[in-house]
Symmetry: C2
Amino acid sequence: MSTTARQLNLNLFVYPAGHHEAAWRYHGSAVDRILDIDYYRELARRAEAARFDAIFLADGPSLPDNVRYASRFRLEPFTWLAALATATTHLGLIATASTTYTEPYNLARLFASLDHLSRGRAGWNIVTTGAPQAAANFGLDEHPAHAERYARAEEFVEVVGKLWDSWEDEALVADPVSGVFADTDRIHAIDHEGPRLRVRGPLNTPRSPQGRPVYVQAGSSEDGRAFAARHAEAVFTAHQTIGSARAFYADVKARAAALGRDPAHLKILPGISPFLGSTEAEARALHEEFNQLTQPAYSLRQLRQLLGVDLSGHDLDGPVPRGLIDGRGERGVGSRFQVVVDIVERERPTIRQLLHRLAGARGHRVVVGTPEQVADTIEEWFTTGAADGFNVMPPHLTGGFEVFADEVVPILRRRGLFRTEYTGRTLRDHYGLPRPRSQYAEVAARATG
Amino acid sequence: MSTTARQLNLNLFVYPAGHHEAAWRYHGSAVDRILDIDYYRELARRAEAARFDAIFLADGPSLPDNVRYASRFRLEPFTWLAALATATTHLGLIATASTTYTEPYNLARLFASLDHLSRGRAGWNIVTTGAPQAAANFGLDEHPAHAERYARAEEFVEVVGKLWDSWEDEALVADPVSGVFADTDRIHAIDHEGPRLRVRGPLNTPRSPQGRPVYVQAGSSEDGRAFAARHAEAVFTAHQTIGSARAFYADVKARAAALGRDPAHLKILPGISPFLGSTEAEARALHEEFNQLTQPAYSLRQLRQLLGVDLSGHDLDGPVPRGLIDGRGERGVGSRFQVVVDIVERERPTIRQLLHRLAGARGHRVVVGTPEQVADTIEEWFTTGAADGFNVMPPHLTGGFEVFADEVVPILRRRGLFRTEYTGRTLRDHYGLPRPRSQYAEVAARATG
């Protein structure tokens, strides 16, 4: 194959014991190590050995109320990824962080530092926070509405972008002879005065290796798509069918192109949660074993969170009452709501069947099969306009990732779809993204040009 | 010697190229590695090899305006210390963080995570932020006044303490058989509603190994001493003379005792910046070499920051104009202001001599001499009521720390003043501090007791 053939981008999306809601109960799980940094360092090293693009951590600034039945506490992404950075040399490190519940100056510092200490491997999954209970942890009476959150996100991204650019690349001089440590003519106050944020700057650290972290975005609502088209360099998205994924892919790429962006610089990465077996029957048996470990008390709470509808009074083996599913999902889960509605429309499941459908990956696609079958799915999505790569969400860890790395990745390589070696060092290199110049250097260049 | 003899506590306080303002210009400096995490990992490993208690990073959420002439950018402490945690197994990790410019929920998460991933080695240097320019990075017109900052700090410490206690130690059950991951009866909303902060909680992560980080405090103003007496488990402080240090030591210990605290649980740790030579003449020559590398344009700005007085129009070799030093220092530098006034009163220096006196460690004590002489100073302060240990501030790195570890530490050991091996694993162990129970467990115990 040509070395320039389009290649998959693969991230490892890590949940403490795995993505399946019952992962922590599985006999092969590492539930005793979910707070042990060495467990995550081993996972990161495995992902790097498989030449994955990045490791990814979700986040939210509140405690999910279903923690009674599953390992749904939160790892703090910056500290955790900084510790993983030192276990690896090439693997990208993507932290989820909220524009609603952080201060831009503090967040800009955390990402600049993560990018420095990893030598250019930081990515930011930009979220506005969907969980309304976060508000009460920050002195607010109400979680801001969807549109208000996105309006702040727009301004927030503008501000942190200016902060990351506030030191031009050449500002750090460090010349012992002249005594000039920093060229302060190349360090800029940003003097941002917007409707929601006022930040003077400059940032208190030199510009980082990637200039700024890779921008990732995960909302698929109308606001989310518009935001992605403007800013995102990678989009995480949930699709149950290739048709839905293709429509999303075409829509977001077209929106980016309409804004003058190169669509190749916006990677569409659906989630995929693979249950693997050496035969299809073995894979199905494994999947069923996980279904048996689920707890309806938990699964019904999860469903209520996705739909805003409580089905706990109903017969689990009866049909999903169609009339109960209405549009009340204004909680950042708008697009995930539609995923569930589509399943109900298409498959007419019982409540229990629906709970099992969602137990694996909260609405992301679960594939059950042999390594060849999973590779076939990946290839089909990749080559027919549904995906540029995937957020791999192992149902259980570490085994669920090991079998993917050991059995599926070699098939993808034989088919010429995935790298055998890294060709660069930074996350921008892996995704084929340019390194932005400082916007202040641009201004200076124009002024003198 | 008895193994129970009182032992020194020694921290390594790290500035990017060393504490002397001209450290980065010294031929032995690592100025080319000041953004290289491996340089700091090597330093941390050396500190651990010397059996130091902790490594300490200062911080502030703005860019010091004197960065033109010295390496006065900021390393973001949480990411940086997380990366150092994985290079060490025993060394404490003390992060400075502001109660004025952070949200308690976010800060509680960062510390809990640092404590988890280091297995109980986190310390928090609680500051209210002295630099008024921080305000404009957070949308404020004015830096809050000293008293207001301390009032918020009081409430902030109460809130994060509740958050760290919000999961009792026994809340994490993780029993695959019963299906209970967390005992939600042992996870508590904190429902804090105070004059400045409203936080519902609970925290979104299990209780950390130390329960909460070790509380460190560094302000020596009246408000600062009162705060230290109530909360601090270690106090960083600047003293030029043993007399001043003894008075401070006695005062803060007495205040703690008056509040019913065990004074042994509050360590007084002055800063010390040692210039070492194999003879006193060699040490003096080294110190003079650093003096020659200073830049008056920088030093005068530093002085202006400490005193609120600009001396740049004056003859550097003339006397410090006494009338110019007045009380205008309301910027969290109140106690450091007094240190400078005392030097002027005592030594009647020229302006240049004063600049050199402050160039080493910004008002902390600089000692110039042989390893025996430096050890003598340390022993005298330790054994006569001036210090429980020291924040060691090497004038240049890494050499300035290596010679301390290689030449001074062995003398302290021979004199029975400093450990040869760690006797515990956590920072609380090193400082001889108890691990607090969750305040919610106390309540439960009282209710059932």
